[in-house]
């Protein structure tokens, strides 16, 4: 169905989808859905909620596709929608007291029963610690961190996503890094990286 669309630019696919072309929309979706899922997962940190979050992102995207200007970057717009939706979802679920606890690390993050030797147990514990560390930092810090180091976005782009200044983005990233380090290594930070 989508083989013919593989070489087509995002802009052309968006234009076709705006005209109601389902195949073009499907191609656009399959091209970007994994990235959207990664962003949502790393911000929401809850495997049971992430599917709903991804669906909410795509609902917003398709509902507002008619207003999207094709000369702009679709990927950048999508990142923005994904990050903001994930932040909203996370806050909503936190409010409902449904955030992932320490003992609720998703099953897929843990190794299979038969391969649980000492090494894989260590890995599982490490993943659990990373999960906890990411959960400890604020959602804005996590979003800035994820978009900066996983999605290669510049501080300017992240500032647009979060609706704040570039300096604030740097502060979020710095504090996020410091908190992750403190949580993961238990090491006190030295003078230069203290503030």
């Amino acid at each position: 169905m989508m083989d013919g669309h593989d070489s087509i630019s995002d802009g052309a696919l968006v234009k076709a989808a705006q005209q109601g072309d389902r195949d073009a929309a499907a191609c656009l979706y399959h091209r970007h859905v994994d990235r959207v899922h990664r962003i949502c997962y790393r911000i929401v940190l809850d495997g049971s909620q992430v599917t709903d979050c991804v669906q909410e992102v795509w609902l917003k995207v398709f509902r507002n596709l008619g207003r999207f200007q094709c000369e702009k970057s679709f990927a950048a717009w999508l990142n923005r929608v994904a990050a903001n939706t994930a932040i909203d979802c996370y806050r909503r679920w936190r409010k409902q007291g449904r955030h992932v606890g320490i003992d609720e690390v998703p099953a897929e993050a843990l190794p299979a029963e038969e391969s649980r030797d000492a090494q894989s147990l260590d890995d599982a514990l490490l993943q659990k610690r990373i999960h906890e560390a990411l959960e400890e930092i604020t959602v804005n810090q996590r979003t800035a961190f994820v978009l900066r180091y996983y999605e290669d976005m510049s501080p300017t782009q992240i500032a647009q996503v979060l609706g704040c200044r570039e300096g604030t983005v740097r502060t979020h990233v710095r504090r996020g890094l410091l908190a992750l380090r403190a949580k993961l290594t238990g090491q006190p930070v030295t003078r230069g990286s203290e503030k």
């Binding site: 929309a25 499907a26 599917t51 990411l134 740097r170 030295t190």
Partner: protein, 173 residues
Amino acid sequence: MKHARFSLEEFKALFPDPFGSQEEMLKEYEAFRAILEQVDQLPVPELSVRERAEIFRRSWPEPAQRRARVWTWLAFLRRPAVTFAAGLVLGCALMFIGMRPQTETPEPIAPEQAFTVQHAGHVKTYEGKILQALYPQIENPRVTVEKKQEASKPRRVLQGTLDKGQVYVLWNL
């Protein structure tokens, strides 16, 4: 994730305060790089094929859903309060149009069609649409301007008919 973006320059920009020594700074930089690499180890579970298909199916508005949306709008417009408000607005608009002062202007007549002049000695006869507009009750109106001599006072006479040519009109202007 390759942390090409977490360069030493970026580290220095994030932590601009001075370190004890260059070695200490590099040690700190490496420590943060190690943290990023550690965070990479958190796997992101992939969406299954079924989940992907389901998300798209629920997100993409099918024609039936679009039609349903139109019906939703129609249902909204058919609510009594909305209908009343729309009627009020429409009524006001119609009243505004109706109450506007009428400023009808007669259709302009092209200069070449306005009138013709015929010369016969000292008599000039004017005919045309402009005279019909000036004397709409008279059929085929024409005005003759006659001078006995060049210097004498002109005599202007309006000529025409009434009742489909049954009455001949002659009127000194």
